[in-house]
C-alpha cells in the first residue's frame, strides 16, 4: 500500500516536471510557431539566477517563483527585440538563430560561473510514508504545475488579454485591423514563454547539479511533449505530459531507468505515427 502511494507520487511528479519543462516551449512554439532551440538554455539560466539570488541572501521561494522568471523573461525580451522579431514566419531561420543563441548562452554562463557543477539543496525536507521515505519537494513541484496550468487556462480563456493573444496568433491581420499591434502581442508572449522557461529551470534547480550545458538534457523531452500534445495549448500539454510521464515511470519501476527513457521515446514515435497532428489534433479539438 505504501509502495502504491510512493509510485503514484513519483508518477505525478514525473508528469508535473514534464508540464513545467514544456510550458514555456508550448507557448513560444505552440502559439507563435517559433522553434526556440535555446529553450533549454533559458531553463539553465533560470537555475543559475536562482542559485545566485540564494547565495546573495534572497529567500529561496522568492528566488524561484519571482526573481528567476522575471530575469529570464527580461533576457527573453531582449532576445525577441534583437533577433526573433526579424524572423517571424521563417521557421528554419529561427531554428538556426536560436541554436546559435543556445551556444552563446552556454558560453556566456561558462564565462561567468565557470564550468563546474553548482547547486543548492531543496528547501523542503523528506518525510516518511510507512516504510518509505519520499522527497517532500516532489509535492511542491506537483503543486506548482497544477497552479501553472490553472493560471494559463484562466488567462487564456477568461481574460480579454488572453482573447487578444489567441486572436493575434490566429489572424494577425485581423487583430491589427481591430487596433491591436501584433508586434507588441508577440513580444509579450515571448516574454511570458521565456519567463515560464526560467521558472521551470529555477524550480528544478535544487534537484540537480547544474552546469552550463544542463539545458541540453531538457530540450528533447520538451519538444517531444509539445509536439505530441498538438495544437491545443493546455489540453495538449496535459495529455502528452500525463501519457509520457506515466509510461516512463511504469517502465522505470518495472524494468530500469534506461528502459523508462526508451519507453518514452517509443511511445512518442508510435503516437506521432498514429496521430501526426498530436493528441489534440484528433481529440479535444478546439480547446485551449
Amino acid at each position: 500500500m505504501d509502495l502504491v502511494f510512493v509510485i503514484i507520487v513519483e508518477m505525478l511528479y514525473a508528469v508535473a516536471s514534464l508540464v513545467l519543462i514544456s510550458a514555456g516551449l508550448a507557448i513560444v512554439f505552440g502559439m507563435m510557431k517559433v522553434i526556440n532551440l535555446a529553450h533549454g538554455e533559458f531553463m539553465m539560466m533560470g537555475g543559475y539566477v536562482t542559485i545566485t539570488a540564494v547565495t546573495l541572501g534572497a529567500n529561496i521561494f522568492l528566488a524561484m517563483l519571482v526573481i528567476a522568471p522575471v530575469v529570464v523573461g527580461l533576457i527573453g525580451l531582449v532576445v525577441e527585440r534583437l533577433v526573433i522579431r526579424h524572423l517571424y514566419g521563417r521557421l528554419v531561420d529561427t531554428m538556426l538563430a536560436t541554436w546559435g543563441l543556445s551556444l552563446f548562452f552556454i558560453g556566456l554562463v561558462t564565462m561567468i560561473f565557470g564550468n563546474t557543477t553548482t547547486g543548492i539543496s531543496t528547501p523542503i525536507s523528506g518525510f516518511t510514508v510507512g516504510n518509505y521515505q519520499v522527497n517532500g519537494y516532489n509535492f511542491f513541484i506537483i503543486l506548482v504545475a497544477i497552479v501553472l496550468l490553472g493560471l494559463m487556462f484562466a488567462v487564456l480563456k477568461g481574460t480579454r488579454l488572453g482573447l487578444i493573444a489567441r486572436g493575434a496568433m490566429q489572424l494577425p491581420d485581423m487583430a491589427a485591423a481591430l487596433g491591436y499591434s501584433p508586434e507588441r502581442i508577440y513580444m509579450a508572449t515571448f516574454f511570458c514563454g521565456s519567463a515560464l522557461s526560467g521558472l521551470a529551470g529555477a524550480i528544478l534547480a535544487p534537484l540537480v547539479g547544474l552546469v552550463p550545458t544542463s539545458g541540453g538534457a531538457y530540450i528533447a523531452k520538451a519538444f517531444i511533449t509539445v509536439i505530441a500534445g498538438g495544437p491545443s495549448l493546455i489540453a495538449g500539454l496535459m495529455a502528452s505530459s500525463g501519457l509520457f510521464g506515466f509510461i516512463s515511470q511504469i517502465f522505470t519501476f518495472a524494468v530500469s531507468p534506461v528502459m523508462g527513457e526508451v519507453a518514452l521515446l517509443v511511445a512518442a514515435v508510435v503516437l506521432l505515427r498514429l496521430l501526426p497532428q498530436g493528441v489534440t489534433g484528433k481529440f479535444f479539438k478546439g480547446r485551449v
Partner: protein, 406 residues
C-alpha cells in the same frame, strides 16, 4: 612604401621566422615535456587543476637544478574537451615539437586516442588519471587508482559500517559497468549480497523512482559509481528524500573533481569514499604541496585527486630520468621498471614493473563538512585487476586494453 599582399606576407613570414629562431636554439638544451589536457570545455574542472599541478611539479624540478643539468620546458596544448584534438596534438608533439615525454589525457577515450600514436613513435607516455584498468602497453605508465584497488578497500569498510545487503547504482558506460562488476565481486567475497544493480545514462538527472525502488529492495548500503554533473543530482535527491540517515551511502567517483564542495554539508556528510588523495591528509608532503600550490597562484581548495595524480606522474618520470641518467626512452623505462617510488601529497607511489600501473596508498574517507576526513590509510595497494591480465615482463610487446573477466 605601399603595403601590398605579397609584401605583407613576405615580411610576416620573416618576422615569424625571426621569432621562432631563439626558441629553436634554446630548445636544444632543455628537456621537453609535452602535455595534452582539457584546460577548457566541459572537462575543465578536471583539466585546469591538472595543468596547474603539472606546471607546479616542473617549476619545482627546475628550481632544484633541473634534470641531468638541463631545465625542463613544458610544451602544453589545450584539447578543449574535444577528442579529435587529442590525436592532432599528439602528432604535433611527436613530429614537430619532438618532446621527450608526454603527460596527459583525462577521459579513457582521450587516452586511447593518443596511446597508439605515442607507442608507434616510441614517445614515453604517462596517463595520470583514475580509470577502469586493463591497459597493458610497455610505453605507458599509469598511476591512478583502478576499480579493484578502490573497491577492495571501500567495500569491506562500508559494509562493516552498515550491513551485508548492497545496492549498486552506476554510470552506464565502460567505467561504471566494469566498476559495478568489481563491486559485486568484493561484496560477495566479503560475505554480502548484491540486492540490485541499476545503470544510468550520463544525462539522467531524475532519480526519484530509483530512490523508491532502492527502498523496496531494502539494502543496508548503496554504492554509487556515478559520473558527472547530471548524476550529482542523485546525491542531492537522496538527501532531499531524507534517505541519508536510513541507508548508508558510498561512492567510487564522488569527490574526484571536488564534488563534495558542491554538495552542502547536510547532503554530503557521512558518504564513504576511497581515493589516493584528500586535501585533509596530514602529511608533511601534502602540507608542502598545498603551500606551494597557493604560492604558485592556485585556488586554496582547488587541488583534487586527478591534479595530484598528475603531479605524482611528473615526479615519477623525473625520478626515472635521474636513475637512467639519460633521456633515451628505453633507458627510462628500464629505470622505472626497477620499481622506483616517489612520495607525493597522496603518499608513496611505486611503479609496478609487471603492469606499469601504480602501487599506492588508498585512503578510506568520509565526507565531513565539505571536506574528506581520512578514516584509515591502507598502505601500498596493488593494482590487482590489471595484474591479473597483464605481464609486461613476460610479454614486453603487448599492446592491448584488456577487459578483465571476473
Amino acid at each position: 612604401m605601399s603595403i601590398n599582399r605579397r609584401h605583407f606576407l613576405a615580411s610576416a613570414a620573416a618576422a615569424t621566422g625571426a621569432l621562432m629562431l631563439p626558441r629553436a636554439v634554446m630548445a636544444a638544451d632543455t628537456i621537453k615535456l609535452g602535455s595534452v589536457l582539457d584546460v577548457s570545455g566541459i572537462f575543465d574542472a578536471y583539466g585546469k587543476p591538472m595543468d596547474m599541478a603539472l606546471r607546479l611539479a616542473v617549476s619545482q624540478i627546475n628550481a632544484d637544478g633541473g634534470l641531468l643539468g638541463k631545465q625542463v620546458e613544458v610544451v602544453g596544448y589545450d584539447t578543449q574537451s574535444d577528442m579529435a584534438l587529442y590525436s592532432q596534438y599528439a602528432q604535433q608533439l611527436v613530429r614537430q615539437d619532438k618532446v621527450d615525454v608526454v603527460h596527459g589525457g583525462i577521459l579513457s577515450a582521450s587516452r586511447e586516442a593518443i596511446r597508439q600514436t605515442l607507442h608507434k613513435n616510441k614517445t614515453l607516455y604517462f596517463y595520470n588519471v583514475l580509470y577502469e584498468g586493463g591497459v597493458c602497453d610497455r610505453n605507458i605508465f599509469i598511476n591512478g587508482v583502478t576499480p579493484a584497488q578502490q573497491a577492495e578497500a571501500l567495500v569491506p569498510y562500508a559494509m562493516g559500517k552498515s550491513g551485508k545487503k548492497v545496492y549498486i547504482v552506476a554510470a552506464d558506460y565502460n567505467y561504471g559497468q566494469i566498476t559495478a562488476r568489481w563491486l559485486q565481486k568484493f561484496v560477495a567475497d566479503n560475505g554480502g549480497e548484491t540486492v540490485g544493480v541499476d545503470f544510468f545514462p550520463l544525462d539522467v538527472s531524475d532519480f526519484g523512482s530509483t530512490i523508491a525502488k532502492i527502498q523496496t529492495a531494502g539494502p543496508d548500503l548503496v554504492i554509487a559509481p556515478l559520473v558527472g554533473g547530471a548524476h550529482l543530482s542523485f546525491f542531492r535527491q537522496w538527501a532531499a528524500a531524507g534517505m541519508k540517515d536510513r541507508i548508508a551511502l558510498a561512492s567510487t567517483t564522488l569527490g574526484v573533481g571536488n564534488e563534495h564542495k558542491v554538495l552542502t554539508a547536510e547532503e554530503g556528510n557521512g558518504i564513504m569514499v576511497a581515493y589516493n588523495y584528500s586535501q585533509e591528509l596530514e602529511t608533511p608532503e601534502n602540507k608542502a604541496f598545498k603551500k606551494a600550490w597557493v604560492a604558485a597562484g592556485g585556488d586554496a581548495g582547488g587541488m583534487h585527486e586527478l591534479a595530484v595524480s598528475n603531479y605524482h606522474g611528473v615526479l615519477t618520470w623525473a625520478e626515472g630520468v635521474r636513475l637512467a641518467g639519460s633521456l633515451e626512452r628505453d633507458a627510462i623505462i628500464d629505470a622505472l621498471e626497477t620499481g622506483i617510488s616517489i612520495t607525493g601529497p597522496g603518499g608513496k607511489v611505486t611503479v609496478d614493473p609487471k603492469t606499469h600501473h601504480a602501487v599506492l596508498d588508498v585512503h578510506l574517507m568520509e565526507f565531513e563538512n565539505q571536506g574528506m576526513r581520512v578514516v584509515e590509510t591502507l598502505p601500498q595497494r596493488q593494482p590487482i585487476d590489471t595484474q591479473a591480465v597483464c605481464d609486461l615482463v613476460a610479454n614486453p610487446d603487448d599492446n592491448t586494453q584488456y577487459e578483465i573477466q571476473i
